[in-house]
């Protein structure tokens, strides 16, 4: 076939999106291995139901929604198996950043890791991924009011963990 199929289109878009999917996964799973596993599962799911995605609509929030659901399923499965990863694994890998940047990344990631799941997802979508409140609420399947209150509570907790000035710790 010579025309670009929807499948090709979604693959190309996903390829561009992979770094952000990995970042979002890193926030919500709190460790590198789980994060990449989650991206893999979500991409597989997305490709299997590529027909549900309308080309032209936002692929990022669609993918974040798939990842959120997959992660919640995973957490439930792990709770059943009684081996939820401890938050201490947070920040196990922060790449090749400079020492100062690495320190910031480590402290931020460790603090985010301590947030409850739902606050962490709100923070991940709005503050890390830059979604609007509306898009974030839709992605999580919650009303905007719920989103903002989770976001506010998450922020308050992070301020407390990271130092109130919000600047250097």
């Amino acid at each position: 076939m010579t025309t670009t199929s929807p499948d090709d289109e979604i693959r190309a878009a996903l390829d561009d999106l992979l770094p952000r999917l990995r970042r979002f996964a890193r926030v919500i799973t709190r460790n590198v291995a789980d994060a990449d596993d989650l991206v893999q599962v979500a991409v597989e799911k997305a490709l299997a139901r590529a027909a549900q995605w309308r080309p032209g609509s936002r692929l990022d929030s669609w993918m974040f929604g798939i990842m959120k659901n997959a992660w919640i399923d995973e957490i439930r499965a792990r709770r059943r198996r009684e081996r939820v990863h401890a938050p201490e694994e947070a920040g196990a890998n922060v790449g090749d950043a400079s020492a100062a940047a690495r320190d910031i990344a480590l402290s931020v990631q460790a603090a985010v890791a301590r947030l409850p799941e739902e606050q962490r997802m709100a923070i991940a979508l709005v503050l890390v991924e830059g979604l609007s409140y509306k898009d974030a609420a839709e992605t999580l399947g919650i009303p905007i009011g719920t989103l903002t209150s989770r976001l506010a509570r998450g922020r308050t907790a992070l301020q407390a963990l990271l130092g109130d000035d919000g600047g250097s710790s």
């Binding site: 499948d7 090709d8 693959r11 996903l14 390829d15 992979l18 770094p19 952000r20 990995r22 970042r23 890193r26 926030v27 990449d36 991206v39 893999q40 599962v41 991409v43 597989e44 799911k45 490709l47 299997a48 139901r49 997959a70 399923d73 439930r76 499965a77 922060v94 790449g95 090749d96 950043a97 940047a101 690495r102 910031i104 990344a105 402290s107 931020v108 990631q109 985010v112 923070i123 709005v126 503050l127 890390v128 609007s132 409140y133 903002t148 209150s149 976001l151 506010a152 922020r155 308050t156 992070l158 301020q159 990271l162 109130d164 000035d165 919000g166 600047g167």
Partner: protein, 248 residues
Amino acid sequence: MKFSDEMLMAYADGELDLVTRAEIESAMAADPELARAVERHRALAARLRAGYDGVLAEPVPERLAALVARPAAVPVADLAAKRAERPGARGRARLPQWAALAASVIVGVVVGVLLTRSPRPPYEDAGGALVARGALDAALSDQLAATSGESGVAIGITFRDRDGRFCRTFYMHRNAPVAGLACRGTQRWAIEVLAAAPPLQGELRPATAMPLPVLHVVDARMAGEPLDAAAEAAARNAGWRNPRSMAE
């Protein structure tokens, strides 16, 4: 005017309408504490982004890039994950294996080619529908998944489709192995999908060798869970009758 912290947060995030924004800005001009609160929200947001931006610069792992790049590498993650987390279903152990294996399957042969390539195909045209005959018909009707038998046909999973019909996946060992899904009509097994399958290797079970097009159709048709061994045997012993049409 008093503003809640949530409202200041929304202001810092650029989520407020023009009017409210203007109100907050004039309040901030008069109240340094308010301005500091907004600044804290902004600083925290910047810090969070900085904390994770390093991930964007990391090289994407090969396995993820490959997943997006290769059209043939799409396991039916839905199905696999869904079944895998439920205890008890016979599909539990198998479907994830399928999914994993499907990643290495290259599919490309269509029914017409299969029909012409094989001298005596175990299926035939019956008024526009493809139905099983010979060894395939016998295996679908009599064979249980646990017993691979000498028929050259292996049965994968058995399930009910949305119309209540019994459907079974099968794999045929031949020079050009094929796999597919057949659903029981009133008298015969209609072939719903047929695709070239990878040759069996070593200890792999036939059920793991389902090609992607078959998995897709299975995923679309299956209502509920695959039958367990007891239900499969019971359905066979009852002649694969669709309970819904029996009620007529």
